[in-house]
């Protein structure tokens, strides 16, 4: 085992799957010769050639649509959308097409594609290089939407996504690409889709989060234990659609106090669904209202750093929400 960044882990997952299965390929804008704007696909074109590491034109609908067509003719494409903010042109091909081939053909045609998209606020990114767009896709049966936070999970889940017979959207928080590091197993392992993960057991409150805000929440939780004697249980959904309700609900029922955090604009975000599920199915166990924390309901993070920092739910806001819930 070696310590790897999130970025390296994803790169390795791709490279290993391409080595193991010659139908696996990567495609997208700048993923080939240049190795990706974040360098996730670096070296893949050298190793696998210009077709299996394919530089596409600037056309997201084409990227998603042609990935579908490749997949129904024997390939397993991993398409990259350069920034999650630029996934809307591919929206139709993803939600109307990829997600429905199997259902509409009564099980005859399935679409084994993976679409990777870096999301999340990053300094200098501003309105169109910062968004958390996952909620757009979490009302679409037939699609799987995953957003792992930690390197080992990301590598294992990416392999599961590639091997999955269904279309999988794979979100990566770009600000954490080099920030989050951990030991990543060298052997060929997978982490199943559809399973939440308990990062930290606790008895007082549950915090459900993913991405950068999960990373922050884990640090705050550690401090809470030391400073306030509050034991926070932390659940990471890992898969956002369909949800692992059982793991989430078990935690909610255990602590009776539930907070869900995401970096997306609060209203209409995935945390609404999570909160609704908990409020319904853990009602009898709840000692406090289900709480949510997110970004304000404005289009996205601004460019100027002070405004950007104001937008993101950071340590202070997370801490305040956790304290409020614990003291309820």
């Amino acid at each position: 085992m070696a310590t790897k960044t999130l970025l390296q882990a994803i790169h390795d997952g791709l490279a290993e799957e391409m080595r193991a299965d010659e139908t696996v390929m990567v495609m997208g804008e700048d993923v080939g010769r240049a190795g990706g704007v974040f360098r996730v696909t670096q070296g893949l074109q050298e190793e696998f050639g210009p077709e299996r590491a394919l530089d596409t034109p600037l056309a997201e609908s084409l990227i998603a649509g042609s990935a579908i067509g490749l997949s129904v003719n024997g390939m397993r494409p991993v398409a990259e959308i350069q920034f999650a903010d630029f996934i809307p042109p591919a929206f139709d091909q993803i939600v109307s097409e990829a997600a429905r081939f199997y259902y509409r053909s009564n099980g005859a045609w399935n679409v084994p594609i993976t679409i990777r998209a870096p999301y999340g606020v990053v300094p200098g990114g501003a309105l169109y290089h910062s968004q958390s767009v996952e909620a757009y896709f979490c009302n679409t049966p037939g699609l799987k939407v995953v957003a792992p936070t930690f390197p080992a999970d990301a590598k294992g889940m990416l392999k599961s996504a590639i091997r999955d017979p269904n279309p999988v959207l794979f979100f990566e928080h770009k600000r954490t690409y080099r920030m989050i590091k951990e030991e990543v197993p060298d052997d060929d392992y997978t982490v199943p889709l559809g399973e939440a993960r308990i990062h930290r057991e606790g008895t007082d409150i549950t915090v459900c989060a993913y991405g950068l805000v999960l990373y922050t929440a884990l640090q705050v939780a550690q401090r809470f234990s030391e400073e306030h004697g509050i034991e926070v249980e932390i659940v990471e959904p890992r898969t956002l659609y369909p949800l692992d309700k059982e793991t989430i609900l078990n935690s909610a029922r255990k602590t009776g106090k539930f907070l869900v955090i995401s970096e997306a604009n609060l209203t209409g975000s995935v945390s609404g669904e999570i909160a609704a599920v908990v409020a319904h199915e853990a009602f009898e166990w709840l000692d406090a209202p289900v709480m949510r924390l997110g970004a304000p309901d404005v289009p996205a993070a601004a460019f100027a750093r002070p405004m950007m920092d104001f937008f993101v739910p950071g340590e202070e806001r997370i801490e305040a929400a956790m304290l409020e819930l614990a003291r309820y």
Binding site: P57, S61, L62, D92, N166
Partner: protein
């Protein structure tokens, strides 16, 4: 004096080819006509027709190797799918939304074709989405060094969508083995060509660096000829071709449409004179492949097949309503 070579002979087609083409066209027509009857009887909720476009469809599809080449049909392509191997029964089972509907098990509207066996890729309603998918499938053939070809079909209205352009560009960039068959039937529902197509469709191919042909879509041999060249070119690895088959939609857009709101009866009448089936019959008579007796015999056979198929579908069961919940995700 030597007998001049007939058009089909110049295309290496023999009598049996001509009759296969004719049968496919006529079968599609008769299935369609019967569908409208079922609609008027209140049995079929929705009909969408291929009438008038049978020549364009059969002429192109005749070049395919069913189950090897891929096709991305659109909702009027019944003559393509019938030619490739779907049956009249399949059409009616789908029309009536029965469990045995091979396209979707009763889930989709009629005309949303699918067959894994025949490489008919599942079609949907959003116009234009098939194009990027088709070029993807063509790229897969190319990557594997196979000589498979992808036929992708749509109406002229579908060329207004961005997806069409993105696919044309990609096909041109990588010399993909794909044929864009645009069936220009003069309308997108009520919108006439002059309000939807600036310039001309066929002429656009040049801008992407590959050939585009406008062809008389009511002449099955003309379409066959153009498509043959395109398929051969694709199989040789030389890249895509755009075919604009100029034709006409003889029925209303669908059973939900009243076309008196937007087009003159005379215009339809004019085009009825150019009906591709009548026209092909005339040719077949001229080259003495079909006389009236033989024509009636074929028609009677087809009508019997259609009647049987329609009856079968009528008495076939619906899927259990709870099947709605099944097959949302493929099993890992």
């Amino acid at each position: 004096m030597e007998r001049t070579q007939a058009r089909h002979e110049a295309l290496d087609l023999d009598e049996s080819d001509l009759l296969r083409m004719y049968r496919a066209m006529l079968l599609a027509r008769r299935v369609d006509e019967r569908s409208w009857i079922l609609n008027r009887q209140g049995k079929a909720a929705f009909v969408i027709s291929c009438q008038g476009q049978e020549a364009a469809q059969v002429g192109a599809a005749y070049n395919m190797r069913p189950g090897y080449d891929y096709v991305y049909p659109y909702y009027r392509d019944a003559a393509i799918t019938l030619f490739l191997g779907q049956s009249a029964r399949d059409q009616f089972l789908s029309l009536l939304g029965k469990k045995e509907d091979p396209n979707s098990g009763g889930r989709q509207m009629p005309g949303h074709f699918s067959s894994r066996k025949l490489n008919i890729v599942t079609a949907s309603a959003p116009v234009g989405v098939q194009y990027p998918q088709a070029v993807g499938s063509a790229l897969a053939f190319k990557m594997r060094g196979e000589d498979g070809v992808v036929l992708v079909s749509g109406g002229e209205g579908s060329t207004s969508q961005g997806d069409w352009h993105e696919a044309m560009n990609f096909a041109g960039l990588h010399d993909l083995p794909v044929i864009f068959l645009v069936q220009n039937n003069a309308y997108a529902i009520s919108i006439p060509e002059k309000l939807e197509v600036a310039g001309s469709i066929a002429s656009r191919a040049a801008g992407y660096g590959f050939p585009g042909h406008a062809v008389d879509g009511n002449d099955v041999l003309a379409v066959y000829e153009t498509a043959k060249e395109a398929f051969e070119r694709a199989r040789r690895g030389e890249g895509p071709t755009l075919i604009e088959a100029r034709t006409y939609r003889l029925t209303a857009h669908s059973s939900d449409d009243d076309d008196r709101r937007y087009r003159e009866r005379e215009e339809i009448e004019e085009w009825r004179q150019k009906d591709p089936i009548l026209r092909f019959e005339k040719y077949l008579a001229e080259v003495e492949v079909l006389d009236e007796e033989k024509r009636e015999e074929i028609d009677a056979e087809i009508k019997a097949e259609v009647a049987e198929a329609s009856d079968y579908a009528e008495s076939a069961p619906y899927a259990d309503p709870e099947e709605v919940l099944e097959r949302v995700y493929a099993e890992v």
